[in-house]
């Protein structure tokens, strides 16, 4: 169909529109066209036509970066067609994936946990578990370091964390559901970590209509009776995620940047019940989404923290946001020294093979990006710097490989998990991928 607003130039619709609608639109277009004899009116209509034609532009495709050394090898896919897949966690021979949002004609909600046998090339679905019939999203899933517990947060109203016993990894047994009056619109992420030998759940709680976003820490010493030990409002506008290691807490506070807290590991008098703020860094562009404090497997150094920035996205299609490298040699004075970005795509969650010094970043429509993070990331030549003097990991040749961009289908990778001998990627659109990690 041709639109008549601009002689000699047609605006072609993409769907070959026909029928009643087409005639009505044609009539409307003709109606508009008849205004053209009015000189200023004609100019206006031409401007509107340009305005509308601009709308036909699809988002920019993912731009290829500099030469990439390789592609991560895909072992197989465990397909999930009926729900959107969210996070992944692997314990031994089983993987657990959570679900997000509503999908398909039935608008099937993201309230299901899928359980996979990952001893085979293509993850095999062995069971599923309805976590909360009222939930629409299970945005996270994590097992305890001893593999005995599995915790899943739920969104939206009112929200909770659900604690399972993994004695039988195929059939997680419900132990407890932790709710609180301080949680009214869901728990966005939940990280499990041990501090002084005690297992805690760190809940990033969504802001509600009557309260700010907040961090809640729950003691899981008795997982059947979880109890809160800390509730603290934080984030600009919200706290999104945390990372805990060696008695140090990192909180991703969106535009508030990343705070570093002493939980006892820094010897500043902090504890889980009373964290003491050590430092803050506001990485470029804000949107601090997740953190990984990296321990170099060869040197044992804790020099860098990687902060994921989640920029605006159209879920399933486009995304934005970089990986920011923060030098935390001095925990009280962290500073951003380097950055990694993929034009046309944005990062989400990380996993790190610390023994080999490889960071795998889920990159939504950019698949999986594997970075060499060994050594000095903050020193580079001028040619390897961005205009603001931060080192650019791509220009430094730190990009080792990409994954899932060769599958001839769109992907939107939410999470990654390195299990030691395999890499798993949870893809919102397709399900659970198993890949071969880089060995060096």
């Amino acid at each position: 169909m041709r639109h008549g607003t601009r002689p000699g130039r047609s605006i072609r619709t993409r769907d070959g529109r026909s029928g009643t609608t087409a005639h009505l639109m044609w009539a409307a277009d003709r109606f508009v066209t008849r205004l053209r004899p009015l000189s200023l009116g004609g100019a206006l209509v031409l401007s509107l036509a340009r305005c509308d034609s601009a709308d036909l532009t699809e988002p920019a495709p993912l731009e290829p970066g500099p030469t990439v050394p390789g592609q991560l090898t895909v072992a197989g896919l465990g397909a999930v067609p009926d729900r959107y897949t969210a996070e992944v966690w692997v314990v031994g021979t089983h993987a657990y994936t959570s679900t997000w949002g509503r999908r398909g004609p039935a608008q099937t909600p993201g309230n299901m946990l899928y359980i996979w046998d990952v001893t085979v090339a293509a993850p095999r679905l062995v069971d599923s578990l309805l976590v909360d019939s009222s939930a629409s999203t299970l945005g996270d899933v994590q097992a305890s370091d001893d593999g005995r517990l599995l915790v899943v947060p739920t969104e939206l109203d009112p929200g909770s964390i659900v604690i399972f016993d993994l004695a039988d990894p195929v059939r997680p047994r419900l132990l407890a559901r932790y709710r609180s009056p301080a949680i009214t619109r869901g728990v966005h992420t939940c990280e499990l970590a041990r501090v002084n030998g005690v297992l805690y759940a760190f809940l990033s709680v969504n802001r509600g209509s009557s309260h700010a976003s907040r961090l809640i820490v729950v003691n899981l010493s008795d997982p059947a009776q979880p109890r809160s030990v800390l509730e603290r409002d934080m984030g600009e506008p919200f706290i999104h995620d945390v990372f805990v290691r060696d008695g140090i807490l990192f909180t991703a506070l969106w535009d508030g940047g990343t705070n570093i807290w002493d939980l006892g590991g820094a010897g500043r008098g902090g504890s889980v019940a009373n964290p003491i703020l050590l430092g803050n860094v506001r990485t470029v562009a804000g949107n601090a989404h997740n953190v990984w404090w990296y321990r170099d497997g060869r040197t044992g150094q804790h020099r860098y923290a990687f902060v994921g920035e989640e920029g605006p996205a159209s879920t399933g299609a486009s995304s934005s946001g970089d990986v920011h490298v923060v030098d935390v040699t001095d925990l009280t004075n962290p500073r951003e020294v380097a950055v990694f970005g993929v034009p046309g795509a944005g990062t989400h969650n990380f996993t790190v093979d610390e023994a080999r010094g490889i960071l795998y970043a889920a990159y939504y429509n950019g698949g999986v990006q594997a970075l060499d993070v060994r050594g000095d990331l903050g020193s580079c030549t001028v040619a390897q710097q961005r205009s603001d003097s931060r080192c650019d990991l791509t220009l430094m040749g730190r990009l080792l490989a990409t994954g899932l961009l060769d599958q001839n289908k769109p992907v939107f990778v939410w999470g990654v998990h390195f299990s030691g001998d395999a890499l798993y990627a949870s893809d919102m659109l397709n399900g659970l991928w198993k890949l071969t990690p880089i060995s060096r």
């Binding site: 769907d15 609608t21 508009v32 709308d55 036909l56 009222s134 939206l156």
Partner: protein
Amino acid sequence: MGILLATRADPATRGAAKTEAYLTQPMAWMQGTGNWLRGIIHVRATLNLEGFTLEQGELAPGMYGEGYIDRRHPHTFVHELMLSLEQAVGPLRWSVAAGKGFAPFGSDDPMSRPFVKYPINHHLAQILERAIAVVAVRIGPLALEGARFNGDEPEGPYDWPNRSRIGDSWSIRGTAWLRPGTELTASTARVASPEDAGGYGLDHRQSHLALRLGTEGSTGANPYLLVEGARTDMFGDGRLAFRFNSLLAEASAALGSVTGAVRFERTTRPDEQRLADVFRSPRPLLDFGIEGRSRWDAVSIALSSRASIGMRATLEPFGEVQFSRVRPTIRPTVFEPRDFYGSDRLWLASVGIRAGVPHGHRRVGRYGVARP
């Protein structure tokens, strides 16, 4: 005034139709004019009671904004409360206005236009219910308005502009009256984080261009024509994140007491995450992404008949039909219209009675010397 309305959307969601009835646009207003400081002082107040009658929103496929999707949100109780002072220096007339009201941007409030049902582009073509200060100058057929206001949009009927946000946004509108009844306007606005009251959301850069034909008569403009284009670019940290466009043309004409109207609209909208109530989206926002972007092509027709009841009231039975076609403009998309609605072709039919007062369709959204 107010409108008793029965409306049916077919399909509304998942292939099922929905029929509802409400009292919509229940409003009362007052205005007065006097002389002060050798100028003209004008006060205008509009009370909107939709917070009582329309809490769940009004079925309106395609509409979005203020936490509602496919429903029009209720407006705040104090829709307008503006005080303006006009003065003249030779051929130059100028005014200052302040209070709560419309930013000088875009076209007239849909409530003052021929259709009861709002167009989809409401949030692309109007900025309203803000704490605002407007300066306007006018020479002959040309007027220029500039304003500062709070960027945060209302979060509910009881909400007021956030004090911390006052003045963080601005707009400019130029108007040329080419001849009586022919009006050309161009406007632009920078609206800071309208969807996140705390100021952390995406910033909007909006532009709008319109041609309006119609001379105000006792029952509004007859005949009447509006052609408008609007664009909103959403920026995060200075980078363009999303772009939404609208093209709209509507016209009406009266023959005796019967008025007919037609509207064509093509608008792209963001498809936001939905709550358990699928007509609502999270507020405050949980993140700053969207689930997709859809284009709505809508054709509407309306017919109404006005009858006066004495000197003080009018009754206007009306009927409207809107046909929309919706499709995603970006793929893959989480929001697939055919999945959600059960079809990509949607009908909306409405009948009702508008009760008002004579001259109830006067134009809304301009203050001081910028008034036509």
